[in-house]
Symmetry: C2
Subunit: 401 residues, 2 copies
């Protein structure tokens, strides 16, 4: 069977664990199988490298940071290839530039433009397990880039899409659950989930799989399996695939929880579109993908724009607004320490009354909620972080999660 | 002033030292200077990486080891570039593949075939300090290679040759001495030394500068300065250059000491050239550059071949001889735990009686010596390792070193 497998940092955090992953690969590999392994950096390596860079000063140039961080995955893949060879499994490691991951020029959050799999396919033809460094690529200037948060998942799904193979993501959680079991211990394990549901869940804080990788999986119809590292019983994990039949009777499949949220409200902006365009240009320049956005118009052609971003982006944004020719004139309100709860389910598209039910549950519990956004298959509300757990429990119980 | 500077691992072993090197560079850099910095891996990184690889098994595949080791220098250059930028010095890091170091295919001891300095020169033109990862390159398959022991020196001298600049090698010793001051505390510091002398010294164990880098320096007439990291007084170091006038009155400039030596004697080989050719083919296949070689013929068309190699090479060689169709039949004697003492001096080419003087000093001290080789400017003898110090002291005193 041909497969792409991705192993996260906790599965590779020391030599013993690297050897265990190699043994696992050796145990299921059969003659003629095509196997591509995507590895993250060992354990907390990435955080340690970032900390070293920050010791040198607060402003870390992103080109250099990418070159620095890329060493983490390169080290992991070389060691994993050595471990495999020592078990008699022919294997080669490949960095981002060797595996032909050509990306956009944006350092620290580059997007994959194309993958030249020529060398990878040559190695596969020679019967070798190809161990690819996740998270990294190279831009057209020949500079090392990284793909941002969850980048190794993106690497894995993208190479699976290119090869037309299935993708298995091994991590430190058992599967995808209806919500975070740490917050709601009765959360149920999902056998399957659709791409759209997974995207809604992951874009709003369920860190198991990054949105971008699910987007690619959906676009190229890559079947993803998510499970615990070294667990061989596939019934214990979750499949992410294009199939919604199995959950039609349930409007809500899961609830994701994101703690990293601040809401900005810019009041008294001109409603002529110019100021709004400037604002979104600024956000684009800062590479801030705002999540929830709302606009309310009021008299005298004024409006209020509200949007959410992460706490780290908020830092960049505060500085940028301060120095901005137009936006510095506007009243900016910031509401930090919020959590976003997102109820997700493809069944929502056909079920009615889900939003009403959510609001009445929250009202009954006396929980304040702020920004609300909806999509065809999700409803997201922001609540104060200290009321998060109360809200999750109430919603899970009400929707049978 | 345009200059290539190389900093060794001990000069970069932690964030504090990296910042100190960056400050040093910032302090001497003037507008318009072209500065290329070559960095080794931080502190003992390379040894640590090798140890990790060996934990996975004794047979470490060299392609993967090179990919693993290359992360050490990549990490160092990224951090140094970050440190420079934080001091307001525009700087970019470059790995071996980015800086166009194209090498032969031999992993772990690749040789530089060409250097495409296009990007380096572009960055220099933009006024940036270019921080190159030493020790690494890329072969024509796109695989990461390393240049072997002292490879970062080779990187530095090679890029200096290509740019036509001087090269400064900063290390943890003050200068080049007539012999190792740890063994002979009265050893004298050399202000200048010729390429040929330096090559003889370094090929026989004075680890300050690897032979290959001196070869390149000689070929392209690159002036090298060797000094202690962060020391600004150039009078304290040693220049390696093409000038022999200054030592004509002294036949011996220095003595190098190498402890890493085993001597093999293969007795009873056929003297028809076939077996000898097989032996040297085997040595070439194992990439063993034998140092001292001698051959003695005796009756019945038999001969004995003796040669020296390092202890690590000896391990490879023992295994290879054992499995070799012809050589496994031959009586192999191995003499481990030897030291090579090499007396070096361009003055030797014109002075007479140096060899005789060496042998009579050793005889007077009752020191056994074995293999002897000579070149135009050197005499090397092997002695038992436990008589090394006694021999060095006697020779230094006799030749006024």
């Amino acid at each position: 069977m041909n497969v792409v497998q991705k192993y996260g940092g906790t599965s590779l955090e020391n030599i013993e664990k690297i050897r265990a992953v190699a043994k696992h690969i050796a145990s299921f590999r059969k003659e003629g199988d095509g196997i591509v392994i995507v590895a993250s950096a060992m354990g907390k390596t990435t955080n340690e490298l970032v900390a070293m860079a920050k010791e040198l000063g607060e402003d870390v140039p992103k080109r250099e940071l990418d070159a620095l961080l890329a060493t983490g995955e390169q080290k992991a893949v070389a060691l994993l290839a050595i471990a495999l060879q020592n078990l008699g499994v022919p294997a080669v490691s490949m960095t981002g530039f060797q595996s032909g991951f050509i990306t956009t020029e944006h350092h620290s959050r580059a997007r994959i433009k194309e993958i030249n799999t020529e060398r990878t396919e040559q190695f596969l033809k020679e019967g070798k397990v190809v161990v690819l460094a996740g998270f990294q690529g190279i831009n057209e200037d020949g500079d090392i880039t990284t793909l941002g948060r969850g980048g190794s998942d993106t690497t894995a799904v993208a190479i699976a899409a290119q090869l037309g193979w299935d993708c298995e993501i091994y991590t430190d959680v058992d599967a995808i659950f209806t919500t975070d079991p740490k917050i709601y211990p009765d959360a149920k394990k999902l056998d399957r989930i659709t791409y759209d549901e997974m995207m809604e869940l992951s874009s709003t804080g369920a860190a198991v799989l990054e949105t971008r990788s699910v987007e690619i999986a959906k676009k190229y119809n890559v079947k993803i399996y998510i499970g615990k590292s070294l667990e061989t019983d596939k019934r214990k994990g979750t499949y992410v695939m294009n199939d919604s039949i199995f959950i039609e009777e349930m409007p809500v499949t899961g609830i994701s929880i994101s703690d990293d949220c601040s809401i900005y409200s810019l009041r008294g902006m001109e409603n002529d579109g110019v100021a709004i365009a400037k604002l979104f240009q600024l956000l684009a320049d800062l590479h801030i993908n705002v999540d929830m956005i709302s606009k309310q118009t009021y008299g005298d052609n004024k409006c209020t724009i509200s949007f959410s971003c992460t706490d780290e982006q908020a830092k960049d944004l505060d500085k940028a607004i301060e120095n901005h020719e137009i936006l510095s004139e506007i009243m900016v309100e910031k509401q930090p320490n919020l959590s976003i709860l997102s109820l997700v389910g493809v069944g929502m598209a056909t079920a009615t009354g889900v939003a009403g039910k959510v609001f009445s549950i929250l009202a009954k519990e006396g929980i304040m909620y702020y920004q609300i956004t909806t999509s065809e298959i999700s409803i997201s509300v922001t609540v104060n972080r200290d009321e998060k757990i109360k809200a999750v429990i109430a919603l899970c119980e009400a929707f049978g999660l």
